[in-house]
Amino acid sequence: MTKLTMAKSINEALRRGMADDPKVLIMGEDIGKLGGVFRVTDGLQTEFGAQRVIDTPLAEAGIMGTAVGLAFRGYRPVVEIQFDGFVYPAFDQIVCQVAKLHYRTRGNVKMPITIRIPWAGGVGAAEHHSESPEAYFVHTSGLRVVAVSNPQDAYVMLRQAIASDDPVVYFEPKRLYHSKGEVDLDADLADAPPMGVARVAREGSDVTILTYGAQVPVAMDAATAAEDDGVSIEVIDLRSISPVDYRTVTASVRKTGRVVVTHEAAREAGVGAELIASVTERCFNHLEAAPARVTGHDIPYPPAKLEKHHVPDLDRILDAVDRVLDRPNSMSGVSL
C-alpha cells in the first residue's frame, strides 16, 4: 500500500494501463508537456512519447471523433476533457457514436473508450468549471458511468474502465484531487471489486444515504455528526452510477426504510430522481418515509462566492435526515 493523492493515483492508473497494453493511448488538451491542468498526466508524455500521449487541437468534438476512429482501428483511447463544462461540444460524438456504434454494428465494432472528466464544484472556479453533467450520460444508453471518491477506487476503477470493452465515462471530483489515501498499486485487478459494485462506506441502521463522488466525504461527515445525535446512518458510495448496484442499495434500504440521496447536480431529472424512483419501485413496502433528495438547486452553477449555497453540505444533508426521520426540519409544515 502506498499513500497517494487522488490525482497521483489516477496518474498511476494511466501509467500502468499504458504499460500493460500498447493499444492504450491518451489524448486531450494540454496533457503532454504540461501534464494536464491538474497535473494528472504528469510525466506520461516523457515516458510514453507523443504518439501515445497526444496533445490535441482545441476541439472536443474532434478529440472524441478521432478517438472513435482510433477505436475502430483497435486502439483504446483514454480521452481527457479538460473541465466538466467543456464536454458539451463532444456530446454529439458521445451520444450518437461512442454510445451507439457497438449496437449499430451488432457488436462488430467495439468502443473501448474511457472519457475522463474532472468534475463538479466547490473549488472557487469560474463559470463552466464546476458542472455536474453526469445525468446526461446516465440517461444515454450504451455508456457506463462511474464516479470515484477516493484514491484507491480512482486507481482500480480507472484501470477497469480502460480494460472494459465498453465506453466508460469516468468522473473524477476536482475538489478531491489532493485528498490522500492508501492505494494498493500492485493488487491483482481480478481480485478487486468490479466497477459496477457499490461500496458500503459506513454501516448504519436508521437511514441510508446514497451518494457518489465528492459528496461521499460530506455524507460521511454527516453520518458522524448524526451519530452524536443518536442516529445511525449507512452511507453507500455508489461508485457506478450507470448501472447502479441495486443489490447493495436495496439491501440497505430494506434494513433502514429511510433514504436520503445527495449529489451536486441539479435536481430535476438528475441521478437522484432515478435512484428514488428505482428505490421506490423496488422497496416500496419497506419505506417508512418518502426518500429525500439533497442536490444542487435547479439553477446554472452560481458564481464562486455563492457556490456554498448551491453545493449540498453537511447541514443540508442532516436536514434531510431529519425529514426522513420525521423530525423537525426545514420542510416541516411546508405543503408541496
Binding site: 490535441t56 468534438a61 476512429g69 482510433l70 482501428r73 451507439k100 449496437y103 467495439k110 465498453d166
Partner: protein
Amino acid sequence: MHTFTATTEPQIDIDDVARLVTPDGERIADPDLERWIADVDTAMLQSLYRDMVLVRRVDTEGVALQRQGQLGLWAPCQGQEATQVGTARGFRADDFVFPSYREIGVQHVRGAKPEDFVLAWRGESHSTYNPYDINTASPQIIIGAQSLHAVGYAMGIQRDGTDQVAAAYFGDGASSQGDVNEAMVFASSFRAPVIFVCTNNQWAISEPVTVQAKFPIAGRAPGFGIPSMRVDGNDVLACLAAMRWAADIARRGGGPAFIEAVTYRMGPHTTSDDPTRYRDKEEVERWRHRDPIARVEALLRKMDAFDDAFAAQVGADADALGAEVRAAALGAVTRPAIEVFDDVYAEPHTGLTEQRAWYGSYLDGFDTEAA
C-alpha cells in the same frame, strides 16, 4: 502582401474542374490527372463502366422496392456513380473507408453483398455488413461525423506504421458542419493519411450548394494546409485519377488530401422527398446530358470497345445483381423481439440483463395467454 483574398469569384462554375473525359465522351488531357491513369487499359475502363451500371441497377431496385413498401426509405445515388465508383476504385482493399448513407457505389466497390444494400433501409438492422469484412464502416447518418472517425483511424495507421489510408465521404451540405472542419484541423495537425471526399452533388435536400458555400468547397482545404482537387464527379476516369493522386500523398507520408467531386443528385434526396418543390426541371435536364455512364459508353464506343456482347453481358450481370438485391429484401426475416437488447454493451450489464429478463417474461405472458 499580407492580405488573403478569395481567389475565385463568388459563383461556382461546374465546368471549372479537372477532367479526362468530356461530357460527350471525348478523352482529353489534364495536366494534374494524366499520370495517375497511365495504366488504365480498355479492360479496366470496361470494368469501371460495369461497376457503374451495376450500381445504377442496385439504385433502381432500391427505389422500386421502396415504392412497393419493401423498404422504409431509399437514398438514390443516380448521377453520382462515377464519383463513387471512380474514387472507390482508387483504394486498396486494406484501406479503410467511412461512407455516408448515399455511398451505394462505394459499398459496392468495397465488396458489399446484395443484402447489405437493403436490410438497413428495410429497418431490419441499423447496419448490415461487418465493417472489418470489407474495411468499410457502416454508412453514417449524422452529417459529417464520420470525417473525424476517418482522421482517427488514420492516426491509428500512423501509429501502426503501415502505408494504408483512411477516407471519409461526405456531401456539400456536410462541409458546413463543425466536425468536418475539425477533421481538417486534426488531419493537418497530425499529418494523418486521410482522404476527404466531398461529393458536391449541388444539393443538400432542398438547399442548393450556394447556401453552404459561395466559393468552391475544394478551396477551403488549402487554408488548413491540405492539398485539394476539384474534379469532374461525372467523369469516372478523373475520379479514379483524383483518388490515386490523393492516396499517393497520404501513403507517402504527405498527410491528408481533399477531393471535391462536382456531380449531381439526379433523383430526390430520398424517396420521401419531392424535389419539384425546390428545383427546376431544366437544371436536372442539363445534368442528364452529363450522365456519367453514357459518357463512358461514348468513350468506349469511340475506342471500339463497346459492342453488343459486352453490353448484354453487363446488362445480364446487372439484372442478376438486381434480382439478388430484391430477393434479399423480400426474403428478409425480422429478428426476434428480444434481440433489441443485444449488443448494447460488449460486456454483461446488470441493468440491461434485468430489463431483458423482464421483457422476455412479459412477452412469454402473451404466449401463455394465447395458449
